[in-house]
């Protein structure tokens, strides 16, 4: 069994986490997310050309007269274009399609989405509520299941530390996507929200295993709180890493082999799970100990 002095270096880990956390907040503040169509509303069309696809400028010219609003044409792969425009009327969609067909008859519409602006706003609201309720639900559950472990730290503090760790994971993941959005144009849509919520749930999963061990060791341990927690962390270290590793392995398979559309989703999950493991080992427990020590003073 390993015997790393993890908790003892608690201040180091918490500082690292803090730095990452603040950096993510800054990124979010400065750049925000690159909102996808689910949030902004608008239309998104993906078309494929059987042979030579026309130049971007030609396509733009052809569509510029139709009054579609702000129009973006992006090449995708060798044969496809992704077109985005503001207007969401079905009639305009058909006009755009016809214009493209007149330009080159071999064009095939792979995928089309249009989202009215009202739905985007509603989605933001729903997502917000969802995150709130997940946090609440988990806090309640942890407080309940750890109720018998009230010394030396009150049971709700276990829950609180877990929640802080969750928050940390979520914010850092979001921060990373702010960066990805800024430099790689990666967008967030409903799947992203789903992934974040899953990450939150999963992050606790991991943290609980460590706390669980602590709970078990406390009654029969002879070292102080800090020592006990450290021992618990060491005991569960291998297991935590392995668990995340297996989940990450399956996610890697999805990232490599799954299609374009599922990749951002899998990536979000992978990043989130990685940080979830990190926070369970290096954040949640040190935090708990620091809290106990601080209370003592």
């Amino acid at each position: 069994m390993t015997n790393y002095k993890i908790i003892q270096k608690g201040k180091l880990w918490i500082s690292i986490s803090l730095v990452l956390f603040v950096a993510s907040l800054v990124a979010l503040g400065m750049w925000g997310f690159k909102y996808g169509i689910d949030f902004t509303g608008g239309s998104l069309m993906e078309v494929r050309y059987a042979e030579n696809r026309p130049a971007v400028e030609t396509v733009r010219e052809n569509l510029s007269q139709l009054g579609l609003g702000e129009l973006i044409v992006q090449p995708a792969g060798e044969t496809n274009y992704i077109l985005r425009f503001q207007n969401t009327e079905e009639a305009k969609h058909q006009e755009a399609l016809k214009a493209l067909r007149d330009l080159d008859g071999s064009v095939e519409e792979m995928h089309f989405e249009s989202v009215g602006p009202s739905i985007g706003a509603e989605l933001k609201q729903k997502s917000f509520y969802a995150v709130f309720f997940v946090l609440l639900g988990i806090l309640l559950y942890i407080s309940y299941s750890f109720r018998k472990v009230s010394r030396p730290v009150a049971s709700w503090k276990y829950g609180a530390s877990a929640i802080i760790a969750m928050f940390h994971d979520a914010i850092i993941t979001m921060g990373i996507f702010a960066v990805l959005g800024r430099y790689f144009n990666m967008e967030i849509n409903t799947p992203f929200v789903t992934a974040i919520l899953t990450v939150i749930g999963y992050s606790v999963h991991d943290t609980i295993v460590v706390f669980d061990r602590t709970r078990e060791n406390l009654p029969k341990s002879d070292s102080d709180f800090e020592g006990t927690v450290n021992m618990s962390v060491n005991q569960t270290l291998v297991r935590s890493i392995n668990t995340s590793l297996t989940s990450l392995l399956s996610l890697t398979a999805i990232i490599i082999f799954g299609g374009e559309s599922i990749r951002p989703f899998a990536l979000t999950l992978a990043i989130g799970i990685f940080f979830g493991t990190y926070s369970s080992i290096f954040l949640a427990s040190p935090l708990l100990v620091m809290w106990a020590n601080w209370k003592k003073k």
């Binding site: 079905e90 295993v209 590793l245 999805i254 299609g259």
Partner: protein, 690 residues
């Protein structure tokens, strides 16, 4: 001896219990496998029975397909906003439901399998209608059709098409005269050497071919007898001397080419055959009046065959053939192509030599003797034509229809309610019109006493009651053999037509089918590789127990997929991702347990106890951590988007089944292989005694 076995089954030892459990798991595995891969199993059965010439025919299993979401099947997801502002709140629920019904009926016309149409009411009293059409080809058509507000019309019998008025008759005559003159002019130009192609482009009124210079391509006499007849004696490149008058108008025809028709399937030329036949039907054949049994008919026809020669064939037919009219026609069929007759007949006559009489040929009509008079290559003609249209009565008056519109539409209907007949308590639908509508209704009923008046909703007749007498006061009752449900439905539909609920398309998501099937293929690949990676990892790290957990994982996968099929869960792309993720999480519980067992061994416990305690100690962690994931899934499932819901449900099912598979199945496998022999080989479990 047998008593012993029965005892062992009914009162098993601890070890025996483990075996029984194991067999139970195997049974589950087989059932699950049959559900998952039913079609492969059935194919295997077919192959097997084929190889053994139907001696080994095992029972087949029912094939249950996966239910695929839109992003895997291709299709579209539409969200409509309803405007219920003009309807008071007590009626809003039913108004929304009514609109939903109409939309569903319209959607059903597309023949999409399992369309989904539902009302989504959110907390602020806002009604949306969600439409999901899987596998639909023309989304735009669907949107157009759905978008129309329901249309209610009252129609009366159309009667015979009316006669043309004098003005119309004059109009018709002058139009046709002008057409004739024009045809004459064009014909003149064509004959005097004008460029036919250019003339067609300018003058022809046949839109489909004028662009090609009026070329109709290669046709046989059968395809268009009138046009072919006009040029059958012409030379190649010649224009027929006169124009031909058809139903559509005047045709100027040119023969551009002539050749023998090549068969589409072989190098041979297609031929036509001229033949006479003698038919003997027998008892049991439709419309057969002679009383011969099948054997007698066969005997008779053989007799006739012996007597028949080309010279007397016609006479024999007239005397003996049971084909209606044979006594006059002598069984002459004229020239026909292979596809004109039933297969048995064609095969025989096209194979036999010219001038011969066939052996008896059996078809669904009876027994035939066929005398093949002649055969020739089928001629094809390449024809170009210029059409100058004429008008006829139908063009002016319109096609003959059963119903014609009255002025009365849903606009005038105040309300429709369900009532019960005072005398016999049968359900009826009572209609109430506004004052204008009442007047119109009075006129309509007066005109059509004793006849039917039809009620059309969205151009589909929903009821056609017979008018008993003139109805004034704008109140009417539709009685018929309604059940209460039918009456309610009709009233609801009529009210829909009366209260149009405007709907507005606010969101659309379409996925092309090719993208859908590509996504499926990718997901399957990802799933297999994911499983493989996890399996390899587990075996390397946990060795023997790792191997066991891989088996356990396989059972898990089979069970989960079977549940997906049976529930049924609609699989979306994110749902499949959830499933693949759960593969990784499923082993998590196993990992927990093995870590524990290793610890227990290190602490000095003997193997069997270590296993037992390992499971017991690991359970609380497993339970707590999975519950938090389940809480997340619960909240995610409240989203109305099928994408999110799909993910939540598959993940939840995955988590629950994984708990089961880890605790029960893995434990069972471990216990099974446990024994003294393992005690010494602790390295197999990867634990070292410290």
């Amino acid at each position: 001896m047998s008593k012993n076995i029965i005892e062992r089954i009914l009162k098993p030892t601890a070890r025996g219990r483990v075996w029984q459990f194991f067999i139970g798991i195997l049974v589950l595995l087989i059932i699950g496998g049959l559900i998952d891969a039913g079609q492969y199993y059935n194919k295997g059965i077919d192959w097997l029975s084929g190889k053994t010439k139907n001696t080994i025919v095992l029972p087949k299993t029912k094939e249950v397909p996966f239910r695929l979401g839109l992003d895997l099947q291709g299709g579209t997801h539409l969200v409509y906003q309803t405007d219920l502002s003009s309807i008071d709140s007590s009626e809003r629920d039913s108004a929304a439901e009514g609109a939903r019904d109409v939309i569903e009926r319209r959607v059903n016309l597309f023949g999409v399998s399992e369309p989904l149409v539902q009302v989504d009411k959110n907390v602020s009293g806002d009604y949306k209608i969600i439409v999901e059409l899987a596998g639909i080809k023309d989304v735009n058509e669907a949107i157009k059709m759905i978008g129309e507000t329901p249309l209610l019309e009252f129609k009366e019998p159309a009667g015979a098409p009316r006669d043309l008025t004098e003005a119309e008759q004059k109009d018709l005559a002058s139009f046709d005269k002008k057409a004739e003159a024009k045809a004459q002019e064009v014909l003149g130009k064509a004959i005097s050497g004008g460029d036919f192609s250019a003339l067609a482009k300018t003058y022809s009124e046949d839109e489909t071919t004028k662009g090609k210079g009026g070329d109709l391509g290669w046709i046989t006499e059968n395809d268009n007898p009138v046009l072919v007849k006009a040029v059958i004696t012409s030379a190649q490149g010649q224009v027929a001397k006169d124009f031909v008058s058809t139903n559509e108008g005047y045709e100027i025809v040119k023969l551009t080419g002539k050749r023998d028709k090549q068969s589409t399937f072989s190098d041979a030329k297609e031929t036509e055959v001229k033949a006479m036949h003698l038919l003997l039907c027998y008892q049991g054949i439709e419309n057969c009046t002679n009383n011969l049994s099948k054997e007698d008919a066969l005997a008779k026809i053989k007799e006739l065959k012996a007597k028949a020669t080309p010279a007397n064939f016609s006479q024999l037919v007239k005397e003996n053939s049971t084909e209606p009219g044979a006594s006059q026609t002598g069984g002459e069929l004229g020239w026909f192509t292979k596809n004109k007759m039933v297969q048995a007949f064609s095969d025989a006559v096209f194979a036999q030599g010219k001038g011969t009489i066939s052996e008896p040929v059996e078809t669904e009509f009876g027994f035939h003797l066929i005398y093949k008079e002649d055969e020739r290559n089928l001629q094809e003609y390449q024809i170009s034509h210029i059409l100058v249209k004429t008008k006829n009565k139908e063009d002016i008056v319109g096609p003959t229809e059963e119903w014609k519109n009255t002025e009365l539409t849903g606009k005038y209907l105040e309300r429709a309610t369900v009532e019960f007949n005072s005398s016999n308590s049968s359900p009826e639908v009572a209609l109430e019109f506004d004052s204008e509508g009442a007047k119109l209704f009075e006129e309509i009923t007066e005109r059509n006493i004793g006849k039917q008046v039809a009620i059309f909703l969205d151009n589909y007749p929903i009821s056609a009651p017979t008018v008993q007498n003139k109805i004034s006061g704008g109140k009417a009752v539709i009685s018929g053999k309604f059940t209460v449900t039918e009456a309610k439905l009709l009233a609801q539909r009529l009210n829909e037509g009366a209260l149009p609920v405007p709907i507005n398309l606010i969101s659309q998501q379409t996925v092309g089918a090719s993208l859908g099937s590509a996504s499926v293929a990718n997901s399957v690949k990802a799933g297999l590789y994911g499983f493989l990676l996890v399996a390899i990892f587990m075996i390397i790290f946990y060795r023997l127990p790792g191997l066991i957990s891989v088996f356990s994982l396989a059972v898990y996968a089979v069970l989960v997929l079977a549940i997906f099929k049976l529930w049924p869960v609609t699989l979306t792309l994110s749902g499949l991702a959830g499933f693949i993720l759960s593969l990784g999480m499923a082993v998590d519980a196993n990992v927990l347990i093995f870590s524990r067992i290793r610890e227990e061994i290190r602490a000095g416990k003997i193997l069997s106890l270590a296993i037992e305690d390992g499971f017991k100690r690991a359970w609380p962690s497993i339970r707590d951590s999975n519950i938090s994931t389940l809480i997340t899934c619960l909240i995610l499932s409240q989203f109305s988007s099928s994408v999110v819901k799909g993910f939540a449900i598959t993940l939840a099912i995955g988590v629950i089944v994984s708990m089961f598979s880890a605790i029960i199945i893995t434990k069972n496998f471990l216990k099974l292989i446990m024994g003294k022999w393992l005690e010494d080989k602790i390295w197999l479990i990867g634990a070292k005694k410290e």
